[in-house]
Amino acid sequence: MADGLADGPWAELLVALPLAGMLLALPLGGRQAHRLALLVLAAGPVLALLLAAQLWQGGVVGVALGGFAAPLGIALRADGLSVLMLLTTAVVLCATGLAARAGFAPRPGQGETRAGLLFWPLLLALWGALNAVFLGNDLFNLYVALELLTLAAVPLVCIEGKPEAVAAALRYLLFALLGSVLYLLGAALLYGAHGTLDITLLAARLQPGPATWMAGALMTAGLLAKTALYPLHLWLPPAHAAAPAAASAVLSALVVKASFFILLRLWFDVMPALAGLGGATLLGGLGTAAILAGSLLALRQERLKLAIAYSTMAQLGYLFLMFPLAGGGTEAQPWSAGAWTGGVLHAVSHALAKAAMFLVAGLVLQAAGHDRIRALQGLGRAMPVAVFAFGLAGLSLMGLPPSGGFVAKWLLLTAALASGQWWWAVPMLAGGLLAAGYVFRLLNPALSAGEGQGWRPVRRRWQAIPLALALLSVALGLAPLLPYLLLGLGRSPAAEEGLG
């Protein structure tokens, strides 16, 4: 690749382009907004790949916006973790944008609708906010990006105006606001104690003390509320189930991962030395509770979208098992890199698989007009490709080989056994079995030979979108080395050697 390409302003563009698109989409109006949005979304994977090339050639990408250096200026920083999340986000959003045309693109002969106009700018705002989170290197800017994310995500939940969606959106907003204000209080304390919020500078200056401890606890609690970790999960299932399917896909796949990403930055980049065994074990315990409670609740749901939403709650639990597995000791721990990589790979493979599942749920709603699981007999014959995609995505959730979920769980399991903390392997294995239970329970009526009622036909090319996502989630398991190498670039020492 030419040097010019590798030196381009890709990180800046990844934040600026979606936001510019959002501003332009509004005046364009409901008949054209989707065209512009899809065009901008299509640039996403290209930009993310260019940034990956830049990272590959020159190491960690750092940008001081406007030439102002930290601590005063706003710094963007892209390491392997950022680029992997940016790539995942771009791919999932492209697929979601294509699938969302079914519900939000203008139909010939119909006037402009409010949902059709607002969906696309909101989707672009969400993308810009996600990219700002993944590239941010300043704790205050991460707060602003998180808030922008919330302000884009909440209206997406209730964009169709159904009363239950409005209630779910309001509950989501209140939880999210509580989370971000706790995070901001922590940021204030950190600034007071150390005089900077730039992650790199802060990591170098960090001194243990009551203010730092308090800040860490407040920020972690706030981010847990936004990531919907048990017992702060109450808002997630109603919000993700009430949203239109395309929005659910983005919310479940990406939005909850953004706050988790900041948590990773906080624990592994900012204050690894402070992360004691107690806090890490608490996070692991809550993750365990989330896996068990979420899976059991997913097994009991009567509606497809609610079942998928509860499965998100369970799958988010796995992400928190990496904290006790990656830390606690006093010496370098060879398994900690495995636990960290396993957790991140799980976030990526879950993003792809869960987006595929929600998009299939959207097709089911389109075809059947409802999503009652028991009444889905004969669905497999009506839309085989979509049901196959759902099964493949389920494979990744269960952690069966060959899939991204398998590699992620394998790395986490290995870390659990190598570090002698075998008890963390129990929820992983139980969660895999329970996931198999709820995925088969959802697939079973679809594959049975009932007549079903008159399905509205769904074209193959709509079904191909979730299939592509599900295939990618499986492909992650076939080529695990690529993300593995990418994640190694610019990885924080704590991720290599362990917390504490």
Partner: protein, 109 residues
């Protein structure tokens, strides 16, 4: 002798506490939104205390003040969105409280 910065900090902490209590206890959505704003004001006061303490003879550290301004803008937009949603909830359902937590095994509705 307590300095002004300490007073600001303590007042901020008290506001955060009152707001957290309100957010947890009050059922009325508007009261919850107000409670969130109380927490926000408390956090901004803490920022103010930080700014006052960090400054030399020439006044306070300007960076926390810039952060407070950004924070106020964010809190204002979030409050506007929350109030709009609360109004919508009232118009659609006639209720001003959130429905109780969804039952675990939600039946067909």
């Amino acid at each position: 002798m307590t300095s002004a910065a300490t007073l600001y900090g303590l007042a901020g902490a008290a506001l955060v506490g009152i707001g957290l209590y309100g957010l947890a206890v009050q059922a009325h959505v508007l009261r919850k939104i107000l409670a969130f704003n109380l927490i926000g004001s408390g956090v901004f006061l803490v920022f103010g205390a930080v700014a006052g303490r960090g400054g030399g003879a020439g006044g306070g550290d300007p960076v926390p003040q810039a952060m407070v301004i950004t924070g106020i803008v964010v809190a204002l937009s979030a409050t506007a969105l929350a109030v709009a949603l609360a109004l919508r909830l009232f118009r659609e359902t006639g209720r001003v409280t959130l429905p109780p937590d969804p039952p675990a095994g939600a039946r067909d509705g």
